[in-house]
Assembly symmetry: C2
Homo-oligomer: 471 residues x 2
């Protein structure tokens, strides 16, 4: 019998009750537990009690052992336990184009390399292989929820569900012919069928993703937003990413990209704040915005996804992160697709968000470590309208959490766990990844995907991509 | 008998000669070999032949196996082989202050946290424990040469030699009393004794390191530069790091920091280019410079160390990297101390150098992947005046090289090895680290340091640092 069990029985005897420990499915015993609750509680040591797909309690290891009898226990005493990271903007299958074309401006990169490569290689098979590779990388680097915009999104949804990840997955709507739709109308029909199929899935939230203001006409933008509202699913869009986009909006709409969408009723038909979960809009990038634009985004309840690495690599600019935070806009972090980053590591996104904010505001106190961590967890959940269910370690929320090893030279010494999570940690430091109460990776072993097979499939497909680009 | 040996003997028989393979100590068989020679040759696959501390040949695995008989062979077929990384600016023992104080301006961070913490905790013991921890991290992350500025630099030099790393190690000279010198005169005397002790060391190049323009008076700056010239050793200094420093220079000298040093004869007594190796100056940061300053640095043969992560985290600004490159200034990369970064990973420094240059020039083609890799290898060697001996994989150079694993999901697929080295790789991807022909880390096992003991020592010392800062 374990000492804690004996203590539990003795304690129960002393208070005149039998030792009625509540059965649960999983107990995670830290280490330092960074809860990301409203009080920013950090327990050292702490433990998280999970039953089925839900967090039922957070407390000291002793208290949790007294209260619960667990089927499975994960003991991670030298590790940090924290909410799973929320990647609010990516294009999962684009891992297949990772490093295919670097050091180019966004419009060149899209028009000369990515759109042509996609034209020749995107297929359900490519999307499935790419999503499995991306899911492997995300599980290995501590992302538990991701927002996606791509083609054949139903295939992405199936691969995501199989991998065990949580996703807000948007079918792309774009004006020109693409692999899964010859016209926007065909794309919208595909999106509707996909939304109907996945509407009640426990892991996948289906969404509609009009690509951008500059790649869709007014009719298509309005139709896509209305589709989202009709089914109460999120609407994902690239917004105010480049100076070029701002110029195009000025030419076509005589206003800023944000004001142009507002003028179309894209963010909502009436006045006032958009209701989360009912056609909530998530805008990726949000760089070329002024104070009026930020006020519109706040009033409409639009979530913003900040992608510092992609924005630096493509020289798109620096989003006004401190202004968004001051205005109370729901702000999450994203990696963008691996073709413009070039990986899916949310720890690097946190570090970069902090570094970029400090540089661009000339204020080294901007986006301190805790602010960056908030953006990658609760902030991302809020941007997706999911902060009621994910983003922090609190009773009643879904059991999405990760553990980070801290015993290497690089983590030594550790004066402050949150500082190390933001300024030192990388995806590879994640040891365990749990989504919806299920352990997807245990001590670096991924359980839901055969890593060697996933990588081999991707390498076979990469040979075709290489040929397609040569032509 | 191995197949290649049979081929060698058969080949020798066919051409009518005995198989006279030259004996060497180590053969590294790739994988992709990124030479960083002037032609930027990349061999896929390639091999590097090493004898004692020198690279003797680079070629195909077949050619190398035919020509050489090796005592030891390192076969790394799924890996990239490249020159060891050159970290041109750090303060190794400051790993002990990693994460102690974040999100602060440089002057606050120095005056309120770092200088007081140093006042209470810097000692030969602290410096030795800190240097061993830093050396462990550097070996594990592929740095083979580092330039250092700190106190008790003779102790740092001994710990560096024991760890097997190459170092350009500068004893700090500063106007106020510090742990190893009550006055600058005492510091200069310490520096001279240290330079005499290490002048002919195969791994350690002793140097003198006047801290900065704003922390030394004219007499001390001139005396430090003269000491360097007298012994023909490098002179390391922080230069033009912050806007505050530029303001102080304007107040005290009525000119820019670079022009102020030039007016003192700091970069050389006469006119014209400084001779490498004879009191060559290495300036760290170089952010607040104009075109005239860049011309001075070029004319004087001053090397510049660019530290993008530290410069962003402390909001110091963005160095004009593309201007330095256009002017032909010898430009290397540095991490700065781990207290302002917060690690010693040169892969992150490469990625950051590329990202920061693209953002700050609004040009996504600035500092392309190969340029960043050049800066971290040959560029750093040039900045240190050591490009005759290190920085590339070429016959006659010292055998300083590393290998990087590429089989993980994050590296899949791989269209371009150099893109992945800069935009995807991290220190933990390094599998083998070789310095001066000696394998310091083999398949992630560090041979010259007991990793567990080094970490335990650092954690014991960290408890004292924590107490000192509390008071």
């Amino acid at each position: 019998m374990k000492p804690l069990t004996i203590i539990a029985i003795l304690t129960a005897a002393l208070v005149g009750q039998p030792a009625a420990r509540r059965p649960i499915t999983l107990l995670v015993i830290g280490g330092t537990v960074v809860t990301e609750n409203a009080r920013h509680d950090v327990l050292t040591p702490g433990a998280v009690a999970i039953n089925a797909n839900e967090i039922v309690d957070v407390g000291t290891p002793e208290a949790m052992a007294l209260k619960y009898r667990s089927v499975d226990t994960l003991t991670v005493r030298d590790q940090i336990v924290l909410p799973g990271l929320v990647n609010t903007h990516t294009h999962a299958p684009m891992v297949m184009y990772r490093g295919l074309a670097d050091d180019l401006a966004l419009m060149d990169w899209l028009n000369k390399y990515i759109f042509p490569a996609e034209g020749k290689t995107v297929s359900p098979e490519m999307v499935r292989i790419g999503t499995r590779l991306a899911a492997l990388e995300m599980i290995q680097s501590g992302t538990t929820t991701f927002a996606d915009m791509y083609y054949f999104e139903d295939t992405i949804a199936r691969a995501t569900r199989e991998a065990g990840l949580r996703g807000v997955l948007g079918e792309t709507i774009i004006q020109f012919p693409v692999a899964d739709a010859k016209t926007p109308a065909e794309g919208l029909a595909r999106a509707e069928a996909y939304i109907r199929e996945f509407k009640d899935d426990p892991l996948v939230t289906p969404a509609v993703a009009p690509h951008a203001l500059y790649t869709n006409d007014r009719t298509t933008l309005v139709a896509a937003a209305e589709l989202g509202r009709r089914f109460g699913v999120p609407v994902l869009i690239h917004l105010a990413e480049t100076e070029d986009e701002a110029r195009i909006a000025r030419e076509q709409y005589r206003m800023s990209p944000v004001a142009a969408l507002e003028s179309l009723g894209f963010f909502g038909p009436g006045r006032g704040e958009g209701a989360p979960g009912s056609g909530k809009v998530l805008a990726a990038h949000g760089i070329w915005v002024d104070d009026d634009d930020i006020a519109i985004l706040k009033r409409r309840g639009v979530g913003v996804s900040h992608n510092p690495e992609s924005n630096m690599k493509l020289a798109s600019g620096a989003a006004p992160v401190t202004k968004y935070l001051a205005a109370g806009v729901a702000l999450g972090l994203g990696t963008d697709g691996a073709a413009s980053n070039n990986d899916l590591d949310m720890f690097e996104a946190m570090r970069q968000a902090s570094f970029l904010a400090k540089l661009s505001t000339k204020d080294p106190t901007a986006v301190a470590a805790y602010t960056a961590l908030d953006m990658a967890t609760v902030g991302g959940a809020r941007a997706l309208g999911m902060d009621g269910t994910i983003g922090s370690l609190e009773p009643g929320k879904r059991a999405d959490l990760i553990t980070v090893a801290t015993s290497s030279a690089r983590f030594t010494p550790m004066y402050d766990a949150v500082s190390h999570l933001v300024y030192v940690a990388r995806g590879d430091d994640v040891r365990n990844t749990i989504v919806d109460g299920k352990v997807l990776m245990r001590n670096r072993q991924v359980k839901t995907l055969d890593a060697a097979a996933v990588i081999a499939d991707a390498n076979r497909l990469a040979a075709k991509v290489r040929e397609a680009v040569k032509q």
